[in-house]
């Protein structure tokens, strides 16, 4: 292992590192052992607790009512959020202060408010009773939040297109709309794509917040399963695994898109976008 931070290790350093490795491995194994021992002691390996996850009916419920609904929710809200983002992103770039300021205010507001607070507000104002229900409350909340984030991505993406491009387009006599649609957007979208996909990961993770208002999705199905079988620990492990697997696929797609469309250029840096720790 070579790095500019330290020399290629000599025999004594190598021995020391080997000692560290052994100590770390032993500590890790001890930790895993302790968890397994704890699980064994509290009877977590009992077949009945794991049974739902090897029963075809429950697997279907988990996949269809859980994963599919979650993906659907994330997908619908990302599509809507893209529309919202384009609208407000362009609004923030507008030449007219009367358009720019309201757009800025809306975007900043929804970016600063916690998503759960927003979802709860939407659900108890428009969703309950004759309203549109928990599903659309979550979708609407996700749309407003991710839309605002994407508006920021959009603005940054358009501004990342070299200035000369826009200037040249104006010079050959294009109108504002033409410059945006024919010159800036096609190039900007390529730059934005990885950021957009990593925002999809965030949206997918955030669908789990529907748990609070009993919206359908993985966490809801999980709650029903552990409510019936009392296997909280096993359910949590299964849910986490499903989320992780889905997100890894999305992340892989993002790297693919990055390599295919953006090349070696640095990915777009926008504060508070993508995986900076959104719920």
């Amino acid at each position: 292992m070579s790095s500019v931070l330290f020399d290629v290790a000599g025999p004594r350093t190598r021995a020391r590192h080997r000692l560290y490795s052994v100590v770390a491995t032993v500590a890790l194994l001890a930790l895993v052992g302790a968890v397994v021992w704890r699980m064994y002691n509290t009877g977590q390996f009992a077949y009945e607790l794991w049974e739902p996850f090897v029963t075809p009916d429950f697997i279907v419920v988990l996949l269809v009512d859980g994963l599919l609904r979650t993906l659907q929710m994330a997908f619908v809200s990302i599509i809507l959020a893209l529309a919202f983002g384009v609208l407000f992103g362009i609004g923030k770039l507008s030449d007219h202060a009367l358009v720019r300021w309201p757009c800025w205010l809306v975007v900043e507001f929804f970016r600063a408010v916690p998503l759960l607070l927003l979802i709860i507000f939407i659900f108890f104002t428009f969703g309950v009773g004759d309203g549109f229900g928990p599903y659309w409350s979550v979708v609407l909340g996700l749309t407003l939040y991710n839309g605002s984030v994407l508006a920021e991505v959009f603005r940054a993406g358009i501004q990342a297109v070299p200035r000369g491009q826009g200037e040249a387009a104006y010079a050959v006599g294009m109108r504002k709309t033409q410059v945006m649609n024919l010159v800036l957007m096609p190039q900007g979208v390529k730059i934005m794509l990885p950021a957009i996909i990593s925002q999809c990961v965030v949206a997918l993770k955030d669908t789990s917040l529907g748990y609070y208002i009993f919206a359908p999705g993985l966490t809801f199905v999980g709650k029903q399963i552990y409510g019936e079988f009392g296997n909280q620990f096993q359910t949590a492990i299964v849910l986490a695994t499903m989320y992780i697997a889905t997100n890894l696929v999305l992340t892989w797609l993002a790297t693919l898109a990055q390599r295919r469309f953006v090349g070696e250029r640095k990915p777009l840096a926008v504060p508070m976008v993508g995986q900076t720790g959104g719920a």
């Binding site: 292992m1 790095s3 500019v4 931070l5 330290f6 020399d7 590192h17 560290y20 490795s21 770390a24 491995t25 890790l28 704890r38 699980m39 002691n41 509290t42 977590q44 507001f109 600063a112 408010v113 916690p114 998503l115 759960l116 607070l117 709860i120 507000f121 108890f124 104002t125 990961v201 993770k205 955030d206 669908t207 789990s208 917040l209 748990y211 609070y212 966490t219 999980g222 552990y226 009392g230 296997n231 909280q232 620990f233 359910t235 949590a236 492990i237 849910l239 986490a240 989320y243 992780i244 997100n247 890894l248 992340t251 504060p271 508070m272 995986q275 900076t276 720790g277 959104g278 719920a279």
Partner: protein
Amino acid sequence: MDDVFTRFDLVLEAFWLTIQLLVFSGVASLVGGTVLAAMRVGPVAVLARLGALYVSVIRNTPLLIVFIFVFIAAPTLDLLVQTPFVVKGVIALSVYTSAFVCEAIRSGVNSVPLGQAEAARAMGLTFGQTMSQVILPQSFRAVVPPLASVLIALAKNTSVAAAFGLIEATARMRFFTNNNAGDLPLIFITFAIGYIILVEVMSAGAFGLERRWRAAR
């Protein structure tokens, strides 16, 4: 009607809990994230792998699932049974945020130009000296903006604790809306402004630090 304003003390109390969650889990995850980052850039392969695994697992798990592990799954293993809810909330938030802090710090270390480390090594500085005298002082600067984003996200993430019986700001809003269904928008705006103040204070702080530490180039 004007419940939010007559019982404004409840609003402040709720935001005080939010701030406590934010500060405690912020400090814990800064420590945790730094340790993880050190593991990831350090020379011991096992620790580097372990750090990478932790980060990629946690980053792809929703915070709500982490909360389910701490609040609902752990007691079935006889763990954290007597622990106060606030401590559990801090544990869940710190476990989650550490991974993001680690990534922010690591990207800061990586943003220091290679030539700096090479020059330090060429002068005969050891690993410890290179890190403490050359790399880290420079990476602190680069780390401020991403770290601020992570901590702002943490401030918003404290709201997830509302789903697990902690009466912080979001749960308190739910309480008010239950009693006064009529003026939901007013209640929502009140609490939203509270969060916005929190976020703006943090980003102003980050901006100030960034400006103070900016190097003359």
